[in-house]
Amino acid sequence: MHRVILFRLVLFFPLITLFVWTLSLQYTILYGNSVTVAVTGYDPRDLLSGHYLSLTPDWTNTDCSQFEKNKCPKTDFETRYRFYISEDIAPQLEKLINQLRPEMSLEFSYHNHHPAIRSLLIENTPWQEWYDAKKQ
């Protein structure tokens, strides 16, 4: 009997923890305040790292009035973010960004000092729309 309980606990523990973790991320995305933080390439010469754009917050160009007390909570944010871009688009997008040097920002959902990325904005439009427009 004890062995059966042990088995169930062992198998449910990772599943439940993963599920709660995913729910908490989804909750932050859904119910957090929307804030936009300007970003630049973590390594401007080499923006792409695998399938990810490697980005770093640019606090000098970020509007801090969207946060409490008009102060940017820099310590709540990471110094480096990765944004997933699919394999077939990533190299072209990197090329366009390097050519046009557009303003980029990450839209976060900010809840209880926890920021979660919602989307990547290029020149204040979602990156996919910007990419489709520039590609033509």
Binding site: F7, P14, L15, W21, Y81, A116
Partner: protein, 378 residues
């Protein structure tokens, strides 16, 4: 030589009779595994699974994120159910395979969540998270494969975590700089402590995996220290006061553990670690003699393991250790390589040592076989 000709040869030398030869052949034919059949099955499973992964990857962008997440959870739950229902089955490899797959799928799900929610990656934190989630699985495995994999992942990720955390990085620097040997002594002592503590839980698979991990780490550490002696990286500076304090505390813990342990196999681990402690101590006072000290350390370690192998009738280990000892002696000769005179003298000395080792090894092997024969007759 195939089994048929081998058996004919044994029969020719009157080692086995015609009847025994036929009985062995019949047995071997009966238990022969259909390798071709299994190879084809493995190949087809491999092709199908890679094909499915490729199909999913090709359509990755058009699959909605919630479908990806639900599929991942369904897959993990399905494999979890498989583990639960196969726990009483005799198919041990299937069960162990499912446990391994479950653990890998958890890592895959962490990666998937990280990708969907654009989580920043910080070193090996995902692997550390995986280690925490899959730690309880070690208590339900019956083979040491998964625990060994877990220990490897955990060790790497915790090392990375310490390296990324400023306070813990200072501790790492204190342990491993300028000498790595202090860090190695402390790491191995802590692992021995964990090993002794785990004995209380009576988890055989866990203990076997940890034992293998300690042996592998010890071999790597000893080889690394010997390489430093070989001049690959020479970094000899005396330990400071804090490092001596760490050395003292670690040594005290090590001696206490040694006193508490009684098993013969454990004693070998303690004797080997005491050599490492001794090397750390003397290398500090004789930085210029590091070459000879590390060579001595390696020779001592190999000799002790060789004696252990001989006493416990591990003939393969004994032979391997003999070869390694010979190679290390040759290494010493390479280290003192200089003028024609020293080259000549070194070569003659090495040759004499190799001859002595070959003669002594042969003598020990025959004595060893005789003792085994005696044991079988008894």
């Amino acid at each position: 030589m195939n089994i048929n000709s081998k058996l004919s040869d044994w029969q020719k030398h009157n080692l086995i009779s015609e009847y025994q030869k036929n009985a062995i052949l019949e047995y071997e034919n009966r238990v022969k595994r259909p390798i071709f059949y299994y190879s084809l099955i493995f190949l087809s499973c491999f092709c199908i699974s890679i094909g499915i992964i490729a199909l999913i990857a090709a359509n990755w962008e058009i699959i909605p994120q919630y479908i990806k997440l639900i599929s991942a959870y369904v897959l993990v739950s399905g494999v979890g159910a498989g583990i639960y229902f196969s726990r009483t089955s005799d198919k041990i490899y299937l069960y162990e395979g499912l446990v391994l797959l479950f653990a890998l799928l958890i890592l895959g799900t962490i990666g998937l969540v990280g990708q969907i929610y654009h989580l920043p990656s910080q070193g090996l934190q995902a692997v550390l998270f995986w280690s925490v989630l899959t730690f309880p699985l070690m208590f339900i495995t019956q083979r040491p494969l998964f625990p060994a994999l877990w220990m490897f992942g955990f060790s790497l990720s915790i090392l990375d975590f310490c390296h990324q955390t400023p306070q813990l990085r200072t501790v790492l620097e204190l342990l491993f700089e300028p000498h790595q040997n202090l860090g190695f002594c402390v790491t191995l002592t802590v692992l021995l402590f964990v090993w002794q503590s785990l004995k209380l839980l009576q988890q055989k698979t866990l203990l076997t995996a940890l034992q293998g991990w300690i042996i592998a780490l010890f071999a790597c550490f000893a080889l690394w220290l010997d390489m430093i002696g070989f001049g690959w990286e020479y970094n000899a500076q005396p330990l400071n006061f804090t490092q001596w304090q760490i050395y003292g505390v670690s040594l005290a813990l090590f001696l206490a553990l040694w006193k508490l342990s009684s098993a013969k196999r454990t004693s070998l681990a303690f004797i080997c670690l005491s050599i490492l402690y001794g090397y750390t101590f003397f290398a500090n006072f004789l930085p210029k003699g590091e070459d000879i000290l590390s060579a001595l350390m390696m020779l001592l370690l190999l000799s002790i393991v060789g004696i252990f192998a001989y006493q416990n009738h591990h003939i393969r280990l004994f032979k391997t250790i003999s070869i390694l000892l010979t190679l290390r002696f040759f290494g010493i000769y390479c280290e003192v390589f200089g003028s024609l005179l020293t080259t000549g003298l070194g070569l003659i000395t090495s040759g004499i040592i190799f001859l002595s080792l070959a003669w002594y090894g042969r003598k020990l092997s025959s004595r060893f076989l005789q003792s085994m024969k005696g044991n079988t007759n008894a």
